[in-house]
Symmetry: C2
Subunit: 227 residues, 2 copies
DNA sequence: GTCATCATGTAAGCCGTTACATGATTGC
DNA sequence: GCAATCATGTAACGGCTTACATGATGAC
């Protein structure tokens, strides 16, 4: 999972370890605060396996500097950061900037398309994959959404079985189960709308993929299943 | 966390390992499918530390058999199970039935009242504690709810910062962040209603705690904060 | 000059998993 | 007789955390 996140980030822009951590924290929100004790070894592993190359970058940031391919930095801080990096005297801290290789891109796509783990970290795993869904083939993307939907459907069934069987839960437990059920239903509706808009997109001729209207919001009645 | 779950279950009824697993799976839904490789060592540890005692139970289930103190088994299966156990020829499988000790109860209450871990497994940890909230002192219970609420408020703020800063997320990521935000808001409302009904309960003279109307549903306008 | 932040790493440990090993009982 | 389920465990490994160790740079 961490490898996937790292490769995903690096597939858009070069970064050094410390910044990867920040991105993971600030941008996606998954991997809230990945620890260095986990991140740096992961980077070393990826380098050893040839998925990324790390270049010791000391002195002013070179020409191949971290210029986001996608311009993902948030307003103020982005301005600040690039102003600083733009001056002749770039940061002099020794840091190791990682770049993804062709091998790395292949690995990334494999990881992204791989079967999701069941049971453990389903939500996080799906969130991560969805965040990088634009790198998937349309068909694989739809598969991702539908597999996730199936997972949730099964969970909903389990929750309802629980609610039906556990007639004498105490009030806290009952409320917990109820809330879980509602949340799962909400998740399913969301996925239904994602799936619908994905199908629509695939039906119509290929338009621009990025920076269009937010996908799957508030409309697109979830007609797949009535909850 | 696993220790807490085990002690929580055992604080209501005796169980053997295999059944603890089933309970954890079917009843709460947290700890979807705890593995035996995790469960049995945990039980051994708990026994070694004196929190539980395990008695090798071979032959027909003795008088001190697993008769739920709280009657938590679901309808049909409960009937089936107790009918079987009720016949003269009880199961003859060798199994080790665990019973919680006074020490165990103390440990349980400590674990339950302990500061929740931040960052990792917040949701599961809270769910577990809430499921056993009836064992907490009213004040501690309120504390649990309010700490969880604070967590969610912070998360909501972070999500919104992300949404504001990440103006050029692609449509999938944007939808993901939006959905997360909505879910968090829903969670907060839920907690608000739990908190309110908890305060009400504590204001009025002590009534029966169990098997009353489900706590915190659909009414109880979350007036604590407007989302 | 000192404190916060940036920056990279290693070592030990926790908490869970899968895979392996074993065997009794029940249902068909 | 054979498969499914019940029942208990061990061993190896995975992935992540905390704590430790180190040092440069910038802000005040």
């Amino acid at each position: 999972m961490l490898d996937l996140a790292i490769l995903g980030l690096l597939s858009e822009c070069e970064f050094h370890g410390y910044e990867i951590r920040k991105r993971l924290r600030d941008e996606l929100g998954l991997f809230a605060n990945i620890s260095f004790g986990s991140l740096y070894p992961a980077l070393s592993r990826l380098e050893l396996s040839g998925a990324v190359v790390g270049t010791e970058s000391i002195g002013a940031t070179p020409a191949s500097a971290p210029i986001p391919l996608t311009g993902s930095l948030g307003g103020e801080r982005a301005a600040l950061r690039s102003r600083r990096a733009g001056t002749t005297r770039g940061t002099k801290r020794s840091r190791k900037v990682y770049r993804i290789t062709d091998t790395g891109r292949r690995v990334f796509e494999e990881l992204l398309a791989a079967e999701e783990p069941v049971g453990t970290d389903e939500a996080r795993s799906f969130g991560l994959r969805l965040a990088f869904a634009r790198h998937l083939a349309p068909q694989a993307r739809l598969g991702l959404l539908e597999r996730r939907r199936d997972q949730l459907i099964r969970r909903l069934a389990a929750d309802r079985a629980r609610a039906a069987a556990g007639g004498d839960f105490d009030s806290y437990t009952r409320s917990l189960v109820e809330h879980r059920t509602e949340t799962t239903q909400h998740d399913i509706s969301w996925l239904d709308s994602l799936i619908e808009s994905e199908k629509q997109k695939q039906a119509t001729p290929p338009t621009d993929n990025r920076s269009t209207r937010t996908v799957g919001s508030r409309s697109a009645a979830a007609k797949g299943t009535e909850l």
